[in-house]
Amino acid sequence: MNTVIVERPGTGNLVSRFFYGFKSLLIGMRLTFKYLSHPSTVVTQQYPENRKSLKLADRVRAQLKFEIDGEGYHKCTACHICEQQCPNASIHVIERKPSATGKPELDTFIWRLDSCTFCNLCVMVCPYQVLKMDATFESSVYDQKLLAYNLSPYAGPTSGVLMKIEDPEARKKMIEPRGQYAGPTALSGYPLAGISKKQFPETTHQGGHL
């Protein structure tokens, strides 16, 4: 193995160490003075002021978003793959079956930012590239309940189904708009409005024994 023994600090009598010490302190002071005298070395970024010039990398993972096409439609078929892959159960896909077609389609796509770890697995496994990670990082709110988003802009079929229909009015009838906070919310420590008790069976305390 190619090893190397690290250097030890110099030894010597008190006098030589004293002068070495004096010199070393001056060397350190020279370095810090170099930075003081060169204001161009300042690396501070003044964040709220530099919002306009702030450039984040393309791949920054800060928020889950839907890919929405020009018409405002998405491609999600409510296949639940992302839901199964999510390690923290932060995604909850709710589907509906309209009586007109009888085929399942996406109602709301609940994503919980408060329990999301931004592992990107949902984006990786999505078969239709519906999901993407976005660099919108300023998502702090004053109420944790506001961190459960609905990503889908509407309840209805995918863009592929919708675009086959020529008449815009007929398309509009097939979809129902959904707001950012629409629908029930997924797993959490506290119940949110709209979640039935049945989904979260009460666990009872059954401690082991010593």
Binding site: T3, V4, V6, G10, V60, T117, C119, M124
Partner: protein, 392 residues
């Protein structure tokens, strides 16, 4: 068969401290007292709690009390599938997340017999070394701060930020990366990756000289670290230490050399070892490791082979055959090992992390007594503990 007399009574912390407090009755004895260092203390790097028995300024005994950030990671790991294992390890040693990801991925790859191409191995090695450099830079800054110099902290973070930027470009995350996946990496390299890394290497080389001027050469640092917290090779091994702590005690044990993984067998690098095992050696070993990391990246950055970045489909189910799987690698703090027990289903039945910090921490109880409070601070800092990695 079981001799009940040999089994000790299960005690509590209070009883333990009570037993320690027995003091000398002689009239000349000084009064010893207990101080809680932590869980909130600036130099315990998180929520580590040390109960100190002090005699004036001198430390007589140290009892680490753990669990303030215990999150039940191993229990959590039993509830998720193999693909979801990776992101959990980001949260153990958050300063080495890529290396932790690699260990878990390697365990799963070994279990599920997933083949990798050369590109994956090279890119993983580069990222591991960048991470080591980044982690050591942070350590260097914090080390300076623990010894009372605030400026190295800022310089360390300034240079670490440059590496973090590179990570951000390719991975999209700065701390909890979740980059290395079973079967490859999450993303392919960013187009500017190679150029950025090369400019980083050019930048880093003169910086090492500055670090030496500011900290390494400083007389106060040298006198505070020399012969403080000496850990001899024999007890370093028996106490299960690994990584720079073990090597500083003069044991040339580095998994990158002895059981090469990635492409470590194809690059040239030296393993720095210490001679005394004091805080200085631990400091100097890490400083030299940073330089070696730069040289490893230098050798690899121009020779990244072509190939796919992921050899399995991201959605494919992983079901390894039943059995125990163990894989270990050298992270910035020591050996991180993952033991997985599979029963053939989609989820492991047991995941155990052999974390470097948990094993490195305990030498504190052996080397800290006898020193001053200031020595204890420099010892903790030289062990480079990351508390979430201890508590899991």
């Amino acid at each position: 068969m079981v001799n009940m007399e040999l089994i000790p009574k299960v005690t509590s912390l209070d009883e333990r401290l009570g037993a320690m407090a027995a003091h000398d009755d002689s009239p000349l004895a000084t009064q010893e007292y207990f101080v809680n260092m932590g869980p909130q203390h600036p130099s315990t790097h998180g929520v580590l709690r040390l109960v100190l028995k002090l005699d004036g300024e001198t430390v007589r005994e140290v009892i680490p009390v753990l669990g303030y950030i215990h999150r039940g990671m191993e229990k959590k790991a039993e509830t998720v599938g193999y693909r979801q294992q990776v992101h959990l390890t980001d949260r153990l040693d958050y300063l080495c997340s890529v290396m932790n990801n690699w260990v878990v991925s390697a365990t799963i790859e070994k279990a599920a017999k997933i083949e990798l191409n050369d590109r994956i191995q090279v890119v993983r090695t580069i990222f591991a070394e960048l991470q080591r450099l980044q982690s050591h830079l942070l350590w260097w800054g914090v080390f300076g701060m623990d010894l009372g110099a605030f400026t190295p902290f800022l310089y360390g973070f300034r240079d670490r930020e440059k590496i973090t930027k590179i990570f951000e470009e390719t991975i999209g995350a700065r701390l909890t990366m979740n980059y290395i996946q079973p079967g490859g990496m999450m993303y392919d390299l960013h187009p500017t990756f190679q150029a950025e890394v090369k400019s980083l290497l050019l930048y880093m080389k003169p910086m090492f000289k500055e670090y030496d001027e500011l900290v390494t050469g400083n007389i106060i640092i040298q006198e505070r670290l020399r012969n403080v917290g000496c850990l001899d090779a024999k007890s370093a091994i028996a106490l299960g230490t690994s990584g720079p702590v073990l090597r500083a005690s003069g044991v040339p044990h580095d998994l990158r050399k002895s059981k090469p993984y990635g492409v470590y067998d194809k690059v040239n690098f030296r393993v720095p070892i210490g001679s005394v095992g004091d805080c200085w050696d631990r400091y100097a070993v890490r400083m030299l490791e940073m330089r070696e990391s730069v040289s490893i990246i230098e050798q690899l950055i121009d020779n990244i082979p072509e190939g796919k970045h992921l050899t399995v489909k991201p959605g494919a189910k992983i079901r390894p055959p039943a059995g125990v799987y163990f894989e270990q690698m050298e992270t910035a703090r020591g050996i991180f090992g993952v033991l997985m027990n599979s029963d053939g289903s989609e989820k492991p039945t047991r995941v155990n992390y052999r974390t470097p910090n948990f094993h490195n921490l305990w030498c504190l109880t052996k080397i800290a007594p006898g020193g001053k409070i200031g020595d204890l601070v420099s010892i903790i800092s030289s062990l480079d503990v990351v508390v979430p990695d201890i508590d899991r």
